[in-house]
């Protein structure tokens, strides 16, 4: 009887030992998985966290009447211009120019003849109207004066 009891005790001991070992594995494994997901957690010397507000990049954002992504004046027809005119070239090319409706139309015709610009259909009128209204020619005379002079002392 005592022998039987002794054996039973021994089995129990081994059982406990195995259980402990197994739980240690589970804890260690769990910790490892957690470390993979949050490697910063075990870094006790880390700098205090700083909250960073990520500004949302909204392609349609307008600030002070200007379309931020392209620099276009926010007016009727602007998105039609963005969609049709800025796929091949930069909006900067348009913003540099000041032309009448007739000459904006000529520019479109040239792009259709040589630059693979497809027929714009009804959009052409919307585009030219927007451009001629917001980017019309300005009479600068035979020679504009010097402007925006950045004055500095010359030693």
């Amino acid at each position: 009887m005592s022998e039987e009891l002794d054996f039973f005790k021994q089995v129990k001991k081994v059982y406990r030992l195995l259980l402990l070992l197994f739980s240690l594995f589970v804890i260690a494994g769990g910790a490892l998985v957690y470390y993979m997901a949050n490697p910063e957690f075990f870094n006790f010397n880390k700098a205090p966290e700083v909250a960073v507000v990520v500004e949302e990049l909204d392609p349609d954002r307008i600030e002070n009447g200007i379309h931020v992504e392209t620099g276009f004046v926010d007016a009727e027809g602007m998105m039609t211009v963005v969609r049709n005119c800025t796929a091949c070239h930069s909006s900067k090319l348009i913003l540099q120019n000041r032309m009448s409706a007739d000459r904006w139309n000529t520019a479109i015709k040239w792009m259709q003849q040589t630059q693979n610009l497809p027929d714009l259909g009804k959009n052409q009128e919307i585009i030219v109207n927007y451009l001629a209204t917001n980017y019309p020619p300005v009479d600068t005379g035979r020679r504009p004066g010097l402007t925006n002079i950045d004055w500095y002392e010359l030693d």
């Binding site: 070239h89 900067k92 120019n97 693979n116 020619p137 010097l146 500095y152």
Partner: protein, 406 residues
Amino acid sequence: MKRRSFVKKATISSFATLIGAEIIFGSNILEGYVPLALQDPDPFKMFNKNKEMVLLNDKPWNMEAQAHLLDDAITPNSCMFIRNNGLIPETIDVKNWVLKIDGESVTKEKTYTLAELKSKFKQYTYQLTIECGGNGRSEFNPPAQGNQWTIGAVHCASWTGVRLRDVLEDAGIKNNAVYIGYHAADLHLSRDPKKEPISRGCPMSKALQDETLIAFKMNGEEIPLVHGYPLRLVAGGWPASVSGKSLNRISIRNIVHDGEKMGGDSYRVPCKPIEPGEKIKDEDYCIIESMPVKSLITYPKSGAIINKGKTLNIRGHAWAGELEVTKMEYSIDYGSTWKVCTVEKAKNRLAWQHFKASVDFPQTGYYEVWAKATDSNGKAQPMLLPGWNPKGYLNNACHRIAVKVK
């Protein structure tokens, strides 16, 4: 496969994934070359340009200098304007790069590798003035369409290469040859592989000049990608668009070359003077050849304030297309009186010439110093804008800087 080359190939293919396009010859890519699409989006860093350069357009790339940035005798890369009609080639495979000579008027079509060009022909170095045909466009009235260049689309770098003439003669030029046209590796803005963004050229007389080069070096170094790596045609004194970048073919034509931007109002002006804003027929346009006489005051920068009684030393450069600048003058009274500047001879034909003068001011106040060059045919720069033309080419009006005497 060696580990290193595997890593290189793997990196290039991941580049390809990133930019959503296959990079042809990825494994042959130039060492140290990072595909443009992945480079720093800051064009000043990407092209090694001075921060004071002015970006006009970013698709395609167009950037100009300001007058004071062009003060060096030989323009460094950092201050050279960029004018691209299409997109910069995405890959340059220098090992397999060939220049082909073909066309109706070539005796025998030939191709040359870069190594062959460099070893077979004698090499020459010239300082060559290259100015964009549209430099000064921003001042035309009514406004002319295109990139609104002010004064900074000009440079004079030192170019090293072989004479175009030597290469053309090696392939053989037939008697009926009239023009050469270049073809290049740049991409059309629409990315249509069948279209060329620009394919211009020049008459045989210009092609056969001593100074017309197929260059492979700029200021003693490999030509930067944005300026035409690995081969650039350099035709000094003519609109910069004749100096085609990233060349891979030159056609000897029996007609005036009819490539992209040789017709319409591209690099062409009315043969006869027209009223500002007037429309003309296609046949009434003439191709721009030699650029007109012009000059720039590169020192001091406009806006200088000096003390009364102090002499102001000014300097700059003058050029005259195919011709020489024979006289250089300045005025501080809006052209009422002109005083002579000293002007040096050109380092070689088609290089810009340096001028300087010491300017005294009679009293305090606001002044403008105007500079005027005269060419060997007696033609001088106009103070007002020259003849209006639809695309705003050839503005060679006098440059001027503002000065205050206190």
